[in-house]
Symmetry: C2
Subunit: 296 residues, 2 copies
């Protein structure tokens, strides 16, 4: 298995299938890249595209898709419920296997410079790629949205990280960055008391003194008549699944409650599950390349 990054660009078009197709085709055309998902949302008037590939191939695919979006989307005419600042609104790179977050930051820098230089679209760097702390969070970067940023971009504190301090006349601006893979993870409890789930969620989430890379809530799952701790694992390399699972088990026991099971919603990088197997089997000297399939 070679170096692999995920890229999840968001484009400001969720209604015209021919425009979405044209953008997605730019991704499909690049060899070494595999398209995983295309999720258009008409009310947001936005499409989320997910693909994975070798880092340079992923960068190339992102660039061509961004160029096509700039050609076909006019932000002067765009309306939708979701905040956005450009035809290509945001492009995050996410490490999947044998790639570090730092390499994804580097990739975001390269892509940002290329878009600014060749397409004349101002670029903001966010999350792990942010050069300015105030740009770590996407909502802060998008403040005022496309319409507001047209004026605000001239202020020094809103100058882009790459390109001129002037919106592209139709494509606006784009946010590029790097972040860890987010694993959506739920843990189900054998209780109908949602308050216990809420207390456990508080115990594990960063905001309340819990694990740094955990966002969690307690909710009631009516179909199963069961309380659930619903979790966003925002960096499984820093806070692993098994540690959160074990802590939830131990916190639940304090109320005489058991963990019935857990669910991974959607995709996970292989490494997150290998880490769990390695932990529980107390594996010594285990290397990823011992997994037969990773040699292919």
């Amino acid at each position: 298995m070679s170096k692999l990054v995920e890229c999840v660009p968001n484009f400001s078009e969720g209604r015209r299938p021919e425009v979405i197709d044209a953008i997605v085709n730019e991704v499909r055309k690049v060899s070494g890249v595999k398209l995983l998902d295309v999720k258009p949302d008409a009310s947001h008037n936005r499409v989320v595209v997910t693909f994975v590939g070798e880092p340079q191939a992923a960068k190339q695919a992102a660039f061509h898709a961004c160029a096509k979006a700039a050609e076909l989307i006019d932000m002067e005419k765009h309306q939708g419920e979701h905040p956005r600042i450009g035809a290509t609104d945001v492009i995050p790179f996410i490490p999947v296997s044998e790639v570090s977050l730092e390499e994804c930051v580097q990739l975001a820098n390269e892509l940002g410079q290329e878009i600014a230089g060749k397409l004349n679209i101002p670029i903001y760097l966010y999350e792990a790629a942010a050069k300015i702390p105030a740009r770590k969070n996407l909502p802060d970067v998008r403040k005022g949205q496309y319409e507001g940023l047209k004026m605000a971009i001239a202020k020094p504190e809103r100058h882009p990280d790459f390109g001129q301090a002037k919106m592209h006349p139709t494509a606006g601006a784009t946010v590029v960055g790097a972040r860890q893979f987010l694993i959506a993870y739920n843990i189900n409890l054998d209780t109908r008391d949602v308050n216990i789930a809420k207390k456990i969620a508080s115990a594990i989430r960063e905001a309340k003194g819990g694990y740094r890379y955990v966002r969690a809530m307690g909710v009631m799952i009516e179909e199963r008549n069961m309380a659930q701790v619903t979790i966003n694992m925002v960096d499984y390399t820093g806070t692993p699944l098994h540690r959160v699972f074990e802590t939830v088990k131990s916190e639940a026991a304090r109320y005489g409650i058991n963990v019935v099971g857990s669910e991974i919603v959607g995709l996970t990088p292989l490494q997150a599950l290998l880490d769990a197997a390695e932990f529980y089997l107390r594996l010594e000297g285990f290397e990823r390349k011992q997994v037969l399939e990773t040699n292919l």
Copy 2:
């Protein structure tokens, strides 16, 4: 990830590098197949070749390698310490991912017929592919070796499964079959008392009333001054790693001993570790395709 089988043919040549190369090149030439390992042994005068691939590609590679071995190896002149009946001595197919053992049995049948038909080499089917119970175990099939089988093959009970009851004049006969992936797995104990490791080995191994697919011994690891339960997991789909690990933990506790760690020696199919993660995290509704890398 597509269907994947492993194939580990053994050829009766461990001394002439040019012959080994010529055989291995037949494997390298086939697209859809990846060579993982070549292990020649001069005193055995034998080479073990390991490759993986899509089932039909793996079959094709095995056929061409077998044909080349028949061309270059003369069993009339072969000497070596390891039991063998032919130039290509044995060809097992092993399921790795998204392939059942039954599909590997089918593959062994197809390959056996092809070798018998095109190369005129009599074929015996063994292990999961055995049509005759007495041929399940390889040593039974190889009884008398090349020299003895030349005569014995004429007896009805030694007739091959495919081909004529007559040895190929230089290539002898070949055994083809299917088996599960063997995982070499060790569990280390915080004791220097090898008798405890031996008792635990007895508790888990089939021969002594333990798990059906477990072969185990207790040994002393002098370098670490530590007793170890050393295990061959001959079918991890029937007896999973985590069940054996938990049983060893519980048997060790009976002597006041702890499990320090475990080791996977060499390769393992991904599924064996996913099964462990799924067990310990109590995953509900988990599907292999949720592992991002398996979509590529």
